[in-house]
């Protein structure tokens, strides 16, 4: 059983929902990420989504664009991101880590090489923003062969017929994008999300994480009421942006947000 599945099974058994933070690897510098991952776990997260820096993050808003620019100023590469996870795994064998990013750095490395090295580093899943299942026919089976879960996106514009097809290709969990927009967009509408998730439950048994527009304990708790996981990114990355050069303050800001969300979700 994959680490992701184990994680969601355990959460289900205890009646809790997954808190899934996103941070861009290497933001604002490569030294930041490993201690941050450990502190996130201590603060109560269940799965970590680690962003792979890319020069052209088409689906991201300004907050994550700038995070990627900060990481790329240090030339943080996909290989280095995998190395960070390998180090993380020397002391943590339980928290699932999902790499989230765009296809081109993986294509450049070569899918076979990437899948093999990612699995060896202890990475559990891959979410490729610009890889819909239609284009994943070669890549997805290769990832699965190496024990990597393929996390696909579902959107408000995804028809039910399409969602069914996507979920057939997905494993681990699926990621529902709560609104039409880029990361860091305005607040989500929980009623709309609840309606859509009820429909999606008719086509899949996979856990459903919801992201985009979650910014505090209240919105995290509201989403946790209808979803299996709450994904939070831009509000964390904002803490890094506000404290470049002050890594301890940045990490303290992030863990404060996480603790607030955790408490609100578990209440």
């Amino acid at each position: 059983m994959s680490r992701i599945q184990q994680c969601f099974d355990a959460l289900r058994a205890s009646g809790r929902k997954a808190l899934i933070p996103y941070v861009t690897a290497g933001d604002p510098n490569p030294e930041m990420t490993l201690p941050l991952m450990h502190e996130l776990v201590e603060a109560g997260v269940d799965v970590i989504e680690l962003g792979i820096p890319f020069s052209d993050p088409m689906a991201d808003g300004p907050v994550i664009q700038l995070a990627m620019e900060r990481a790329l100023a240090h030339n943080v590469s996909l290989r280095q991101v995998m190395e960070m996870v390998r180090e993380f795994r020397t002391t943590n064998q339980t928290t699932p880590v999902v790499l989230m990013g765009y296809l081109n750095p993986m294509e450049r490395m070569g899918y076979e090489t990437f899948a093999r090295e990612a699995a060896a580093a202890g990475i559990d899943g891959v979410l490729t923003v610009d890889l819909p299942p239609e284009e994943a026919e070669e890549v997805a089976p290769l990832f699965r062969e190496h024990g990597l879960d393929c996390i696909f996106l579902l959107a408000p514009t995804t028809t039910l017929a399409r969602a069914r097809k996507i979920c057939e290709h997905a494993s681990g969990y699926v990621y529902y994008v709560s609104l039409k927009g880029v990361t860091g967009s305005a607040a989500l509408n929980v009623t709309e999300v609840a309606d859509k998730l009820a429909q999606l439950r008719t086509v899949t048994d996979l856990p459903i994480g919801v992201g985009f527009g979650i910014r505090d304990g209240a919105s995290a708790a509201a989403v946790a009421g209808v979803a299996d996981g709450v994904v939070v990114g831009s509000v964390l990355v904002n803490q890094i942006a506000a404290h470049v050069g002050e890594p301890e303050q940045a990490r303290a800001g992030i863990t404060a947000v996480i603790r607030e969300m955790r408490a609100a979700m578990d209440r």
Partner: protein, 405 residues
Amino acid sequence: MADSNPIDYASVPDQRGHFGPYGGRFVSETLMDALEELETLYEKLSRDPEFQAEFDRDLAHYVGRPSPLYFAERLSAKVGGAQIWLKREDLNHTGAHKVNNTIGQALLAKHMGKPRVIAETGAGQHGVATATVAARLGLKCQVYMGAEDVKRQALNVYRMKLLGAEVIPVTSGSKTLKDAMNEAMRDWVTNIDDTFYIIGTVAGPHPYPKLVRDFQCVIGREAREQSLAQAGRLPDALVACVGGGSNAIGLFHPFLEDQDVAMYGVEAGGDGLETGRHAAPLASGRPGVLHGNRTYLMEDENGQIIETHSVSAGLDYPGVGPEHSWLKDVGRVNYVDATDTEALAAFRELTLVEGIMPALESSHAVAYAMKLAATMRPDQIIVVNLSGRGDKDIHTVAGIDGISV
């Protein structure tokens, strides 16, 4: 080429938008439904005689087509080789080939009932062409333009404003065309319900490379008829500049089955390919995925897209339309380059000898055609796509001359 197993050029793209290994639809999930809707509508309208008649009518009476095929006799004599003929897309309304495509896509937007259009632009020609059709159809229009290009192309920025469009300078990344395209995609994903994205070149997710090609093919269809009528035969060679590659594909595509017609796509050589400061992904890049399609890209060893350089803003793009990648691999089109210096020399030469001031983009094609002509016989014919006029570049050229106008 008496090939027993000829390539079927009409077979691409396939149903999924693939040109061999290139093209496709690499976008985030939110856009997939809109792209499928656009594809379905376009498949229907492309076979609808009424839609085609509407398109042809607009091209005739609004754009001013057909554009002439002009024998540049003095330039040819000066070069001393093959005859150089110019396909005068610079004479179109708004001054470039871009309007052929924006007319077509605006008609699609109208059929879909979208009240708002967005576009990305590099040199500003596509932005102007989009703002123009938006004004004519009463559509709200926002144009994304790299902050660097806003500076380089101040005249076109003001033209767009006069046409009622809002120009949004993009300050992320390298602040040029690729970043404008990122930003337009972000806008589209946010405003997908009421917005039609008018992509300016034969790139992006399927069905854009196909539909933009189809709209631009009027260039090659006319050139083919005109060559037969005026010269009594098909040309020996076609030359067009390639940034994203829409003017080139428009000229080349209707000739692909004519095996005796050689084709040259001219990329921006910038300071020279050997310096690394250029915008020639077909010459020196490798396949990757950007902006919704797989194609040749300029990237570093980690798969990050690298900054490009060209004196012409319209060619300053690290990717290229996926059909060009395929045509390179199958060997049908020769992809070559012209440097900034060569393009500027051609700009001056055509202006002085023929009284025609080409866009700096098109000057790359003229520069290569002059080199090519010199190696050919006087009874041979080269058709060059003069894709745009150079008025917008006068500031750039004057600046290089150290003159402020």
